[in-house]
């Protein structure tokens, strides 16, 4: 389901031959961090920064960018910039909850399957296989749509649909840890299973988990905005990037910024998260740590 999170690493940060940090990369990652922080700030304080997101001005109607409306207005005369700023909230809250929920649910199942093995592994693996065989987004569209739509419904459905990829990730990493001599040595010492999982398996999975949080967030953001775009997430008229894009799609000949600005926000936020995630994955890997 979480297709992007499954894609292999791309060796962005460290040169794979020499292991040295790539020149010019620091700046890019710095900018990504700044952007992530900005979006997070707007998610909390956006409505104070831009109070005018819902104020309609039918007299003005649609307009191209101007001094008073830097990104112009939409067909109801609403200020596009304000709406983009306020839209940060639904763009951050839902995906954050999805990442956290799917991570906890999927991670716990993965750890259980990987460390315990046996029948629990079998059952969990079947579940994951089944979910991977389904086109997750389409299932989300159908289920959310048939159940009547809504933001939190979409969040709940996406938690369920994205958790298998976390399960698979954690399970594979745990399975890889399990036969390592330091884990076996801990077993021979007679340490309790819970302590081995917490002290010996988990710390070595941490880099993977941290990186996958960022990649998972980017993925959840795309999924949520897609549902909103299709009219299945937030209600009509809400200042939400996906919804705005859908509603302004037809205005592209009149005020392109109304559709392009929320689209750009989606891409830049997702790209920042992806880059930061890739960067962390490499930095925290054994190879990165050796530097």
């Amino acid at each position: 389901m979480s297709s992007q999170a499954q894609a292999p690493p791309i060796d962005l940060v460290l040169d794979e031959y020499t292991g040295a940090p790539r020149r010019g990369f620091r700046l890019l990652i710095g900018l990504c961090w700044v952007f992530v922080a900005l979006v997070a700030f707007l998610a909390v304080f956006g409505e104070r920064v831009a109070a005018d997101a819902y104020g309609q001005d039918l007299a003005t109607g649609i307009s191209t960018p101007s001094v008073s409306h830097p990104l112009g207005t939409d067909d109801l005369g609403r200020d596009v910039l304000s709406r983009v700023i306020v839209g940060a909230r639904t763009a951050v809250v839902g995906p954050a909850v999805i990442t956290l929920g799917a991570g906890l649910l999927g991670g716990a199942l993965g750890l259980l399957a990987g460390y315990r093995g046996g029948w629990s592994d079998n059952v969990i693996l079947r579940w994951v296989d089944l979910m991977f065989a389904l086109p997750g987004h389409l299932v989300a569209i159908v289920v959310v749509g048939v159940l009547g739509g809504g933001y939190w419904l979409a969040v709940a459905v996406l938690i369920l649909l994205s958790s298998p990829s976390d399960t698979r990730l954690i399970r594979a990493a745990t399975l890889e840890q399990r036969p390592r001599p330091y884990i076996e040595a801990a077993r021979v010492l007679g340490l309790p299973g819970r302590r081995i999982a917490a002290q010996h398996v988990l710390p070595n999975l941490l880099p993977l988990i941290i990186a996958s949080v960022f990649l998972g967030f980017a993925y959840a953001l795309l999924a949520m905005t897609a549902l909103s775009f299709l009219g299945l997430g937030v209600g009509p008229g809400t200042a939400d990037w996906g919804r705005m894009l859908a509603e302004s799609r037809r205005l592209i000949f009149h005020n392109p910024a109304a559709a392009l600005a929320p689209g750009a926000m989606i891409v830049v936020t997702a790209a920042s998260m992806n880059l930061v995630g890739d960067w962390l994955a490499e930095r925290l890997s054994d190879r990165g740590r050796a530097q």
């Binding site: 791309i10 962005l12 031959y17 389409l138 009219g231 299945l232 790209a271």
Partner: protein, 322 residues
């Protein structure tokens, strides 16, 4: 013994896929009962109170008086021959709507798929071979953009640049005739392809880089094999294995992307049909689209398995799990 192992493998996969189809069909069938309201209400458009005869007809058609299991088997038997009943919204058979709407989606999908394979794999190979050059950097940047931009955003930007600013392509609709289609569907296919290229490029590039580091590549070079033989016969063939196993993943991306792109460009395909049906709670149509998609997913999975088996002898001999 080899043949029996091969048959066992194929048999196992087929059984798995059949089971998958069962589970999906069960889920799809259950949609009727998932929607708030009784099954009759769901299956009859709720705008005006239906006549008792109509209710009776619906109860008869969907066997609503019988057990859940019996309803299901009855529905499956009809679905198997493509009969999903009548659309609630239009009253016409679902099968007809599916047929009509399939053409543009199929055209779009195949067009995008060709773009993905013909751009993603060669570019991935090129990036790996020309590592640490501008080509590689550009390919990597493209893949980052590709995984970060959903098809509808890519679509809007392409629309703006090529239809609004440059005016090279029409903005909306599907066009008629092959040339018209090609012209109308180029931007949507491009938008769709860009999201698919990114993972394919990544898988190819990583697979190729890992393969080129292998001992057997060094050994092939040490025997003086030609560069082409080393790169393609030894390198690419091994590198393609992860790409092929990602085939199902690509299908998922393309399917979702098709829905988003069709909505973005107002193409009257299956994706738009699904969204209309979902918003209207037109369950028979949703079921029809879902089952059609499920069949496609299963066929692609099977094709992936067969291809995988064809490329990797270890699968044929049951050495590693598929």
């Amino acid at each position: 013994m080899q043949r029996s192992q091969l048959l066992a493998f194929v048999g196992r996969r087929l059984a798995g896929l059949a089971l998958l189809l069962c589970i999906i069909s069960f889920g799809v069938f259950s949609l009727v009962h998932l929607v708030p309201g009784s099954a009759e209400q769901v299956l009859i458009s709720g705008r005006r109170p239906p006549s008792p005869e109509r209710v009776e007809a619906i109860r008869e058609r969907y066997r609503l008086d019988e057990s859940f299991w019996s309803q299901y088997t009855h529905w499956v038997r009809r679905a198997a021959v493509g009969d999903f009943g009548l659309s609630i919204r239009t009253g016409e058979p679902v099968a007809r709507a599916l047929r009509e709407r399939a053409a543009p989606t199929l055209f779009l999908g195949v067009y995008a798929w060709i773009l993905v394979v013909s751009v993603g794999i060669p570019l991935g190979v090129l990036a790996a071979v020309k590592k640490r050059t501008a080509i590689d950097r550009a390919a990597v940047a493209m893949s980052v953009a590709g995984v970060s931009a959903p098809a509808f955003v890519t679509g809007i930007f392409l629309l703006y640049i090529f239809a609004v600013v440059l005016g090279w392509f029409p903005a909306f609709g599907q066009g008629s005739g092959f040339a018209g289609r090609l012209q109308h569907l180029t931007l949507p296919a491009l938008a769709l392809a860009l999201t698919g290229i990114a993972p394919v490029l990544r898988f190819t590039r990583t697979g190729m880089l890992e393969t080129l580091e292998q001992d057997y590549i060094v050994f092939a070079r040490a025997r003086g094999l030609s560069r082409a033989r080393v790169l393609f016969g030894y390198g690419l063939r091994n590198a393609l294995i992860p790409v092929i196993t990602a085939g199902g993943l690509l299908l998922g991306i393309l399917l979702t992307g098709a829905v988003l792109v069709e909505v973005t460009f107002s193409i009257p395909g299956l994706g738009n049909l699904l969204i209309e049906a979902v918003n209207f709670h037109d369950i028979p149509v949703v079921q029809g689209v879902a089952m059609m998609t499920a069949t496609l997913v299963i066929m692609v999975n099977l094709a992936t398995d067969v291809l995988y088996m064809f490329i990797d002898p270890r699968i044929r001999f049951g050495q590693v799990a598929a």
